[in-house]
């Protein structure tokens, strides 16, 4: 594989706070111009990793190369490197001065001309929707306004590497999509390298070229969004990326790349067909994303490989989607549009057919250590 040169390469990175090991031997290489999303539960170590990449902290062990050069020890050289990056911290900290001064400080520190600074600050504030806020005392901003100032402050520097730690955590959907579009356009136009920690899965999917799943200090999987969200490498990842249906089973037959997984422990349990190479006899988890399951009236004759009759046990709607729990011998969760929910009259007790394709089933070997 001939990849573009790596902008950031991390080898065997370990970090400890006291005797807690927070990062456990990470290896990661991010190419110039790539957008990389770090996802993972709270406390996984995302912030710590970003801080180390931004040279705020020295890792306990391991090596980091920035633009193919190892990170130096001398403060001055680190400053040079750091000035090519910009980290937007998770909790935006604004300086006790005006919004203008807050956004201008990075430029000033780099010795920019003030006329230039005035222009740049004005334009970036407009971009984040805060024109006419220049003179405001930064400490009196609302949560979302502060977040946008923090963004503007980093973006105005036009860094080569942009590190974002939950950049839209405090924003409403309209501002969020505005900022997302902004980030995307920056990534494209300036071919900025970006690493973002986010808990918003769809943000990761939308913005990132590649996604890394960090769980408990370990980078358990990296890949593009399809790989991560559709073929999680472990049950842990599967659970985290929203594969709510994780069904225990055992491969009982395998032919032409289609495995038959018998669910549950009783001998005449239901079987699920899945596209998988797992050999017969292996203990596995069959995972299905809720949105890959379609529900139809009980009268419906299905052509899907996997089709199960069941009873609705719960419906919860949030936004455009409804989350429908179905009992068909084993528990299934399906995400369907509110429209279908209404059309099908889905409510507790309703009889339905749940269909999903063999390609929608992702089979993971059950790890011994559980």
């Amino acid at each position: 594989m001939s990849r573009p040169p790596s902008m950031i390469r991390i080898t065997a990175l370990t970090h400890r706070y006291g005797d807690r090991e927070v990062l456990k031997g990470l290896d990661l290489s991010i190419s110039r111009g790539e957008t990389f999303a770090l996802i993972g539960p709270t406390g996984a170590g995302k912030t710590t990793l970003l801080r180390i990449i931004d040279l705020l902290e020295m890792p306990s062990s391991g090596e980091i190369c920035f633009d193919d050069r190892p990170v130096p020890g001398s403060g001055k050289q680190r400053l040079q490197m750091r000035r090519r990056m910009s980290l937007i911290h998770q909790k935006p900290q604004l300086f006790d001065s005006s919004v203008y001064d807050n956004v201008a400080c990075g430029l000033r520190w780099r010795g920019n001309k003030e006329t230039e600074t005035v222009r740049k600050v004005g334009s970036i504030l407009e971009t984040v929707g805060l024109d006419r806020y220049e003179g405001r005392d930064a400490r009196t901003l609302s949560g979302g306004e502060a977040q946008r100032v923090a963004l503007a402050r980093a973006l105005v520097l036009e860094p080569e590497v942009l590190l974002l730690d939950e950049p839209t955590a405090n924003l409403d959907p309209v501002s969020t999509s505005r900022i997302e579009r902004l980030i995307r356009s920056i990534a494209r136009q300036r071919s900025t390298t970006m690493i973002m920690a986010t808990h918003d899965m769809s943000q990761g999917q939308y913005l990132a070229d590649r996604i890394g799943v960090l769980i408990d200090g370990r980078l358990v999987q990296t890949g593009n969004s399809t790989e991560v969200f559709r073929s999680p490498r472990s049950e842990e990842v599967a659970g985290f990326v929203g594969m709510e249906n994780i069904i225990e089973g055992k491969v009982v037959a395998s032919a032409e790349g289609i495995a038959t997984v018998k669910t549950g422990s009783d001998p005449d349990g239901t079987t699920i067909q899945a596209v998988s190479d797992q050999p017969v006899g292996r203990e596995v988890h069959a995972c299905v994303r809720p949105e890959d399951i379609t529900l139809a009236p009980a009268t419906h004759r299905s052509s899907a490989r996997n089709s199960f009759r069941g009873t609705v046990t719960g419906v919860a709607s949030s936004g455009p989607l409804s989350r429908v729990e179905v009992d068909c011998g084993f528990a299934l969760v399906a995400l369907v549009t509110r429209l279908s929910t209404e059309e099908l009259g889905l409510e507790e007790g309703a009889a339905v057919v749940a269909d999903f394709k063999a390609t929608a089933v992702h089979v993971i070997e059950r790890s011994a250590h559980r």
């Binding site: 910009s86 300086f95 980093a154």
Partner: protein
């Protein structure tokens, strides 16, 4: 009690009549204490910032020692600097004993620990997160220093004021090192002391009130400066 009233009246008289001698002494006091405070601040602010940021062995001990020097009695500082600057002393060559320069040196020895120590504790009130944000935005060491001083400006100003106040109100150094020489090294406190020795308590109180009045003006001006937002 009458002395206090009379002292007040005398103070007002001296102030409104612009008594030449009082004006001269007050000006000299401000010049000397101002110089030593300025020099001490020039040392303390960067040094304090450096100590605040750097991690090194014995940092805690160093801060402890600096804090201990808050307790330096002025007589001891005076004596110490006297011994250093006296003809027989190691810096006797300079021949600056009993001059305003020597007083500046002595006062700096006295107030630098206060300014330094209080600066360090002022800076320690600035959140770590804020500094890390600045670091991420590419602030160099000195830029970070300026930022932290700015963020803690209220407490830093208090530290500087305190040091200046100490220089303005101390007597021991001015006496031991300056010699309280009429028309040359006599400061307000020296004049006050002399008035008490003469038994002229009224004059002493009047001079004290004038000194406080000066101090009030200075502290108001500095506080105003600090509150004015930089553009």
């Amino acid at each position: 009690m009458t002395e206090i009233w009379q002292g007040l009246i005398r103070a007002v008289q001296l102030l409104v009549s612009f008594d030449a001698e009082v004006v001269e002494i007050a000006a000299r006091t401000l010049r000397i204490a101002g110089t030593s405070s300025l020099l001490a601040a020039i040392i303390s602010l960067p040094l304090g910032t450096l100590i605040h940021f750097r991690q090194f062995r014995g940092k805690g001990a160093l801060i402890n020692i600096v804090q201990t020097l808050y307790f330096l009695p002025t007589v001891i500082v005076g004596l110490f600097v006297f011994v250093l600057l006296s003809r027989a002393g190691p810096l006797g060559e300079l021949g600056i004993l009993f001059t305003p320069q020597a007083m500046v040196v002595g006062q700096m020895v006295l107030i630098t620990p206060i300014m330094l120590g209080m600066t360090i504790s002022a800076l320690s009130g600035v959140r770590k997160e804020l500094l890390e944000t600045a670091t991420s935005l590419g602030a160099s060491g000195s830029q970070l220093g300026l930022l932290v001083l700015r963020e803690a400006r209220y407490a830093v100003l208090a530290a500087l004021l305190l040091g200046f106040g100490r220089a303005l109100s101390e007597l021991g150094v001015a006496m031991m090192v300056g010699g309280n020489i009429d028309g040359y090294t006599r400061m307000m406190t020296g004049a006050i002391w002399l008035a008490t020795q003469r038994g002229d308590l009224e004059l002493a109180l009047a001079l004290g009130i004038i000194l406080l009045f000066l101090a009030l003006v200075i502290s108001i001006v500095l506080n105003r400066l600090q509150q004015r937002r930089p553009q």
